[in-house]
Amino acid sequence: MGGLAVVVAVVVVALFAPYLAPFDPAAQFPDGLTPDGRPLPPGSRFLLGTDLLGRDLLSRMIYGARISLLVGVVANGAALAIGTGLGVLAGYFRGWIGILFMRFTDLMMAFPALILAIALAAILRPSLWIVALVICLVNWVWVARVIYSQTLSLSQKEFVEAARAVGASTSRVLLRHIFPHLWSTMLVWGTLGISTTVLFEASLSFLGVGVRPPTPSWGGIINESQSYFLDAPWLVAFPGVAILLTSLAFNLLGEGLRDAFDPRQVRNL
């Protein structure tokens, strides 16, 4: 449950960023640089040090948590919605819809996802929403495949057969009889997905095609400091640790949820 604790902590930090951050994340402090213009290492005034422009790293990282979570939730939520929708439809109706679905997901899986994402993000003007859109485009296919196979087996179960036999409409069968069984899968994949999304967003921002400066994002901070990291390694280390902890926490939480929903898995422990 260490995962849950860190997830809660990151959410709290993101929500209350203005109250928690010691400084304005965009403020450039004259005393935030050494006399010859270098960033300050961690110290008593600037707890995690300052960046190349003399801004407080801690404050920027606290605000950066907002970007990571926002992209994580938005992109992953959209991917989950699209993936579940298409997966359920294809798995329930089968036939040519199912075939079309399988072939299209085959195609998406052979697609070099990261290159596609970078190309899209670079050519469209990078912004938070474009980044979320791109990640969603790449991620939905995995959810869709899982939901598809679950719906496929669910729709052949007796209780679905029975519901149809007593004359329930298609939408009623889908919403009342199939969907409730998919919740746990969606929750597990939704949580695990945030972990990959956080990493994905950080990678795009690191390459400079993610969220644009001056908006602080963890990947972006590392991108800005990359040329200077031999002199100021803390500018890479602290945001790197923040990304690692957030992604790790969502992974652990997702695993925990999976074990909780599927007791058969616990035998592996």
Binding site: F111, S203, I222, V236
Partner: protein, 306 residues
């Protein structure tokens, strides 16, 4: 078997066709103008138009696509907009570096993942198991660019053990490959642990133990052989992903592979090069999967393709 292969081949061609189609139209819908990129900011409209006509970009997109495919079937990937070289030559010049990094990266994944996974499975439920599994998760969750930069800082800059990026000797490949190995090794360790735990519970393992074979021998000779099977398809997947260019790691370490090529091409909207990289990546992904599927029956006689 031959029928199976023929089926797979036909399917791969179809997927490849779909990938080129999707990429091509995606690149043309986007609001980027390669002609203007090449001409530069100060160019007049006439210059831009002339370049556009030279590149054939003034023709309708479906026609451009047909021409592209017609050349592609003959093995002609076109010329780079920016470098005026054949895309095929450009790709070939990068292939060796990428393959080198792939082999070394997969080597590190196995080197880190297998012992960790085996140890965790044998000590199931212990503190060591928990630590290894959290460590494996951390490896998977770590941002590769930060790991790479920090490795460079400590091992290359501070301790001077390795060169600060670049390409050349054996020492150059270790840090980028290790960076790749940390993430992949995490997946491998988790996979091996769960499959070894399953195998260790099976009757034939109990029989082997029961007839008095020492534990180490049972694990190495009987259990591990079966438990390592899923690794084959994971390596297959990795061949695909790594050959498609690991943009982030190549960019951190200045590794002159496909990923860097893709990154440079994307920044200047060099469409033939982007298309070429996408095709190579898709081919590699399909080849990696096929390779794993073909090796499987040799390792596990229970699997046969009809």
């Amino acid at each position: 078997m031959i029928r199976y292969l023929a089926g797979r081949f036909a399917q791969s061609c179809l997927v490849l066709f779909g990938v080129t189609l999707l990429t091509f139209f995606l690149l043309f819908i986007l609001p980027a103008d390669p002609a203007r990129m090449i001409a530069g900011r100060s160019a007049t409209i006439e210059t831009v138009n002339r370049i556009r006509a030279e590149l054939g970009l003034d023709r309708p997109v479906p026609l451009q696509y047909l021409q592209y495919v017609a050349r592609l079937v003959r093995g002609d990937l076109g010329r780079s907009y920016a470098q005026k070289i054949e895309v095929r030559d450009l790709l070939l010049s990068r292939l060796a570096a990428t393959a080198y990094l792939m082999v070394a990266g997969i080597g590190f994944e196995l080197l880190l993942g297998i012992p960790a996974g085996v140890l965790a499975a044998l000590r199931r439920g212990s503190t060591a198991d928990r630590l290894i599994m959290v460590g494996a998760f951390a490896g998977v969750s770590a941002p590769q660019f930060a790991v790479g930069l920090l490795l460079l800082y400590v091992l290359a800059f501070r301790w001077g053990l390795f060169p600060l990026g670049g390409y050349g000797s054996f020492a150059h490949v270790i840090l980028p490959a290790f960076t790749l190995g940390i993430a992949g090794g995490g997946w491998y360790a988790r996979m091996i642990r769960s499959s070894l735990v399953d195998v260790l519970d099976q009757d034939y393992v109990r029989t082997a133990r029961g007839k008095g074979l020492p534990r180490g021998k049972v694990v190495l000779k009987h259990a591990l052989r079966n438990a390592l099977l899923p690794i084959v398809s994971m390596v297959g997947l990795d061949i695909g992903t790594f050959m498609g260019g690991v943009v982030v790691v190549e960019s951190v370490f200045g590794w002159p592979g496909i990923g860097q090529l893709a990154w440079q091409a994307i920044q200047i909207v060099d469409i033939p090069v982007i298309m070429g990289v996408v095709i190579v990546s898709a081919l590699a992904i399909m080849a990696g999967n096929l390779l794993a599927d073909l090796i499987y029956p040799f390792l596990d006689p229970r699997i046969r393709y009809e």
